[in-house]
Amino acid sequence: MNKKLIAAAVAATFAAVPSYGAEIVINNVDAPGIGFNDPTPVTPVGGNAGTTLGEQRLIAYARALELWGNTLKSDATIVVQGSFAPLNCTATGGTLAQAGAIQIFADFPNAPLPGHWYGVALANSIAGVDLTPGPLDPGPLAEPFNDDIVANFNGAVGQPGCIEGPGWYYGLDSSPGPGQIDFLDTFMHEVAHGLGFQNFANEQTGTTPLDLPDVYMANTYDLLYELPWNADFGDVNISRLLVRLSAVNNGNVVWTGSSVTANAPLVLGPYQGIRLTGTLNQELVFGTASFGAPATADNFGGSIVIGQDGAGASSTDGCEPLVNVAETTGNVVLMDRGTCGFVVKAANAQAAGASGVIIANNQAGGAIGLGGSDPAVTVPTISVSLEDGNAIKAASPGVSVEFFADPTRQAGTNEGLVRLYAPVTVALGSSISHFDTVASPDLLMEPFITPGLRSNVNLDLTPSLMKDVGWQLETLKIGGCDTGVTSALPTGELLHARVDACAAGVRNRGQFVSCVNKVTNAAKDAGLLTGRQHAAITACAAQ
């Protein structure tokens, strides 16, 4: 019954230009009246025509699965076990979502890498058969474990007593209102983990199920140790040690898959960084602040002066008004972390005429993110590690800092390979199973959901990674016509979503063909489609 509801809802939302791809279906495990079955009346929003809360959730969930299904190829049906039942939460915080593969398989038919784990959905697609046939699971994570992926979302978010305030946005256009949480972006991110954007290693202990590596680890490489995460030492303890040490090797853990590597230059912007010049020459690993203006090439740079406040626990912590104003005016001020808030330090530096602020950590842990809020603080502020701060002090005076852009490198890469998120403190659930936050523009699979994501039409490097772990990418089909063109462009733009948008926005076949032609012309002009591919697409659109 649920599948019929989903099919009807999707057909109603998208004027029947059917598209074909991996069949990804929902196993709705919610009890009557809650979650997906919530009868609360709501107003249609953002292309979601549902008139009850449950309907909108099903429609949004189904649309996300359709987007993935039209991107990835699988002959086996993929079952996503879903729920919108309330999860743990209080008035100010709680669980938003949980997702992942329900089972993993190794040494299945056609497995590319022997002795490596694959998530069951991916394993099914490679094997060409459902490795867990049989009835759907009757409840959450319940036997017989025939479902493939679980993706649960907290349906109580925004209600009294549960992360109160604006809740989920169920529109299909990635355009949430202020403070709302975009469900589609969140779901596209979460289900990507279940489809293969994850390893099965515990980065704290280094262990893996049955001490076997997985295909994600096979594409994970440490540039410092010059070893892939699935390196076979013949000693599981050494393998575990590598995982533990590498997992916190910030900046040096990269993805070596060929598809991501080849397409990164099409997605990522030029590398932007900060470097020291003068008596000390090096690039800086830096953290950014949640207050003040973002540091850019236009507003951050100059001679570094150590701020002196001449009072309190430390004369260089910037917790009191600075006394060396003649030196700090127009220059970048270096201060130490500790004793007072970062915004206090920045405010004192700003009052002393500083053009920029550098806060050096006072403990191990690298360059940290600087939290705090003060609308009056406008000076751009960054953080550096304890070690870099000490090096600057030792080389001062005579050290300058500048913001630079290097078009020969892409933001978020190291040695031409896309960086994986490896903070100096292991974050279970985040470390390694995401792209690094230094990537620019923001990527869907960074460890947080950013406002600029448009997963309804673009998955950036995510399809490329899926290809690297073993998925085949689906071809674009319009009606019954297979264009033979991969439906996700190398940039991650979803051609099938663009075609759907054309179908929804036109009144006749002629307008549809014109719209599709316009979309594909733009891709051809950008070098993302050949002339032959463009012709194949428009030919199918005209049929």
């Binding site: 784990w117 994850q198 030492f233 040690l241 939290g371 403190t425 292991v426 279970l428």
Partner: protein, 132 residues
């Protein structure tokens, strides 16, 4: 072997300030500095894989002798099956799920983070990062 030596040497170099520890309490970092004194040169050096294995066994025996529990349990699959074909399957429990948590402050700013409280990510201007 060269790369293995580099790996262990890197671990050694990263923790040289810490005195070598051979017996540790549960949940202490198992990556603490491990060194051996070379029998021929008398110099401290990084252990090879066999020596490392022996050290880990010694630590385990020491914990047992002192009644100390083993380090934090690593989440284990709910079920593991091996088929006649050699195919293996493991049912993962809820501990393997990627979990997103959110926190909204008094100003309405929303912070989204994964399950580990040490890893906080910002959706809106945040108060969840360290502020001093």
């Amino acid at each position: 072997m060269k790369k293995t030596s580099m790996l262990v040497a890197a671990a050694l170099a990263a923790t040289l300030a810490t005195p070598p520890v051979l017996a540790q309490d549960a949940e202490a970092s198992t990556d603490a500095l491990r060194v051996v004194r070379d029998k021929q040169t008398g110099q401290l050096r990084a252990p090879n894989s066999e020596e490392l294995k022996q050290m880990l066994e010694a630590e385990k025996a020491d914990r047992k002798a002192r009644g100390k529990p083993e380090p934090s349990a690593n989440p284990q699959p709910v079920q593991v099956r091996t088929y006649a074909s050699g195919m293996k399957a493991a049912v993962l429990g809820p501990e393997f799920l990627v979990s997103l948590e959110a926190h909204r402050d008094a100003d309405g700013n929303l912070t989204v983070r994964h399950a580990d409280p040490a890893d906080e990510h910002v959706v809106a201007p945040n108060t969840a990062l360290p502020t001093e």
